[in-house]
């Protein structure tokens, strides 16, 4: 059992308020990802949970106990650093067993625990090496192994994959997800990479300027972003935004007029909106498709062919737009394309940037990563 609660947590460095009152609940065995642009405070928040940074006000509660003043090592946490932070003068075995050595665990017992962790991470052949004789991926695994040996109630990861090359990052992403299932532990993971957040999280916490913008499952954030920031941050390529005019609002949605003059009814709650007021329409590049009943028309400026899919960058009047379409489209630059979208895929944001609540919940919005798989996951003995 390991739960974590943050209650109105604040961090101030001198006059600068870096974390401005964060409330958060992390459930047992959850994989929670803090994501946000650099400088949003996500690493600071993680370091506050770890105890490496003091908390200016608010409570940090683990398993019902307030731990603000508890020393880092006594919080029952383990942290994996972005730089791995291995002890360069110790062998892999000593690195992994350092916490046990400090705790006064006998050598034989220490070795046993280190070996158990090394087995999970396939590190056994490397136990006698020093960190400098390891590759980046191996160092990363040792850092994770060092965390496992401590048998923490909560694992903390501070951008652990950002020093790895792209291929290794994908591999480690999968390995971390596997590890989460295998260890059945609560994990908190910080990243600026929304793909890592989407692929690994049960719950994503989007942070900006020291505030939580939205908390939810990956699919909830994708389908029901609460505001313009989350809508733009989650999803790649970025969501398209267009300024639109309200024609009317009723119980079935809001009818809007696009810059092209086309109209459509978006099924969001907007009763009481005055006709003529302006909103921002958000539509994801992958939800635009070519159609005779054009809602948007534009000229192709750049084409990026990725093989499986193609990204078209358009100029539509004053707006630039992105479309993700089939890999085999034959378009060329300067071609004119007519696009449409299904109104239920569209998002509307008011002048403050807050989303108008959708009238239909997406069926996958509550789905967590763990539910992607069949019910039984393979245990290490099966491999």
């Amino acid at each position: 059992m390991a739960t974590l609660q943050l209650k109105q947590v604040v961090k101030e460095f001198g006059d600068a308020r870096v974390i401005k009152g964060v409330d958060l609940e992390v459930h047992d065995r959850e994989f929670v990802v803090f994501v946000g642009p650099s400088g949003c405070g996500k690493s600071t928040l993680l370091r506050m949970i770890a105890g490496l940074e003091s908390t200016s006000s608010g409570d940090i509660v683990i398993d019902g106990e307030r731990i603000n003043e508890v020393a880092p090592a006594d919080r029952g946490l383990a942290m994996v650093f972005q730089s791995y932070a291995l002890y360069p003068h110790m062998t892999v075995e000593d690195n992994m067993g350092f916490s046990l050595r400090l705790a006064g665990v006998a050598k034989a017992q220490r070795r046993e625990k280190v070996l158990a962790a090394a087995r999970i991470l396939q590190l056994e052949p490397l136990l006698d090496r020093k960190p400098k004789a390891l590759s980046g991926g191996q160092r990363q695994r040792v850092a994770i192994g060092r965390a496992i040996v401590r048998n923490p109630s909560i694992f903390l990861f501070d951008e652990p994959l950002s020093n790895l090359d792209a291929a290794l990052r994908v591999k480690m992403r999968i390995e971390l997800a596997r590890l989460h299932d295998e260890l059945d532990a609560t994990m908190i993971y910080v990243t600026h990479d929304q793909i890592e957040a989407m692929t690994m999280a049960d719950k994503i916490v989007v942070l900006q300027n020291g505030l939580v913008e939205q908390v939810g499952s990956p699919m909830e954030l994708y389908h029901h972003p609460r505001n313009l920031f989350v809508a733009g941050f989650i999803g790649s390529p970025k969501m398209n935004f267009l300024e639109v005019r309200v024609i009317g609002a009723g119980p079935d949605g809001v009818t809007i007029e696009l810059p092209s003059g086309a109209t459509c009814e978006v099924p969001v709650a907007g009763e009481g909106l005055a006709a003529g007021s302006t909103l921002t329409l958000g539509i994801r590049p992958e939800h635009l498709y070519e159609s005779e009943q054009a809602v948007v028309e534009g000229e192709i400026v750049v084409i990026e062919r990725l093989g499986g899919e193609t990204c078209l960058y358009l100029q539509a009047g004053d707006d630039s737009m992105t479309v993700v379409t089939d890999g085999d489209v034959a378009h060329r630059v300067h071609d004119k394309v007519s696009l449409a979208f299904e109104p239920r895929r569209a998002h509307l944001f008011d002048a403050e940037g807050d989303a108008l609540p959708s009238l239909h919940r997406h069926p996958l919005a509550a789905m967590k990563r763990g539910e992607n798989r069949a019910s039984s996951s393979p245990t290490p003995d099966d491999q």
Binding site: L77, Q82, A85, Y87, H89, S99, R146
Partner: protein, 272 residues
């Protein structure tokens, strides 16, 4: 010969030239120690019949070993004490800096700009009243304080090069401040600490101003030993050279043996 090779050759010639110029006085002193007093003042010549006469005279007249032991105790003692004080000091400055840290460091260094003679009188009076005159402890204290700014500065720069993450990982693993220092900081910055210590030993060994003014016999180190040969009876070049050679020999051998460590330490930050 390519441009690069000729450039390298010239650099080598220049380096050797400078080295020879710097080393020549020591070399000449070494030779003079093996001459008779008459030969020492005669027209300089590389060819003479070497004699141990001056060395014998020096050893007969003074207790070399006593001075040497004083030098060793004071150089090593003051260095050990300085490191003991400076390691925690540099640790807190490097890893727990406050807005005043930079200023404190500069202030510490600025004390080195004060001419020592400016504080001779108060220190002499304090030493007289506390009975520290001509005592090993007294000079150990003076040398420690004299080297402390440099030692703290050097350790501070070595410690600053150590990634903070490593110490934080240690803290997550359960290390307290002293364990952090003993298990992580010291082993990882050992080359830097060693070269700092070596420098402090050499500076203390060669220090003459305080040792001449604050000691007379009991605690007199080798610098005082040399000085005693440039004394009232006039200059005896051969004996003075022999005494000087004996005074610098230990530190020279010591420095030569540890030169690898010294170079490694002084380039520690540059190569990582």
């Amino acid at each position: 010969m390519t441009m690069l090779a000729s450039k390298r050759l010239w650099l080598a010639v220049l380096a050797w030239g400078i080295t020879l110029v710097m080393f020549f006085p020591i070399f000449w002193m070494f030779l003079t120690g093996f001459k008779t007093e008459a030969a020492a003042v005669a027209t300089p010549s590389l060819f003479f019949s070497p004699t141990l006469e001056s060395y014998m005279a020096v050893l007969e007249r003074t207790d070399y070993l006593k001075f040497a032991i004083n030098s060793v105790i004071m150089a090593f003692g003051s260095t050990a004490l300085a490191l003991l004080i400076a390691v925690p000091c540099a640790y807190s400055m490097a890893f727990l800096p406050t807005p005043r840290t930079k200023g404190t460091l500069l202030w510490m260094l600025s004390t080195k700009m004060l001419p020592p003679v400016g504080v001779l009188m108060p220190i002499y009076l304090i030493f007289r009243d506390t009975g520290l005159l001509d005592s090993q402890l007294g000079l150990v204290i003076v040398y420690t304080l004299m080297n402390l700014p440099i030692v703290v500065w050097m350790l501070y720069t070595f410690f600053k090069d150590l990634p903070k993450d490593i110490l934080e990982a240690g803290r997550m693993d359960g290390a307290g401040t002293s364990q952090e220092i003993i298990y992580l900081l010291l082993p990882l910055t050992l080359p830097g600490i060693a070269s700092t210590g070596l420098l402090a030993i050499i500076l203390s060994w060669n220090e003459a101003f305080w040792s001449l003014n604050l000691t007379s016999y009991d605690a007199a180190p080798l610098t005082a030993f040399i000085a005693s040969f440039s004394s009232p009876e006039g200059l005896f070049w051969a004996k003075l050279s022999a005494a000087s050679t004996m005074a610098i020999a230990p530190i020279l051998v010591f420095g030569w043996l540890s030169q690898k460590q010294l170079v490694r330490g002084l380039t520690f930050g540059a190569v990582k």
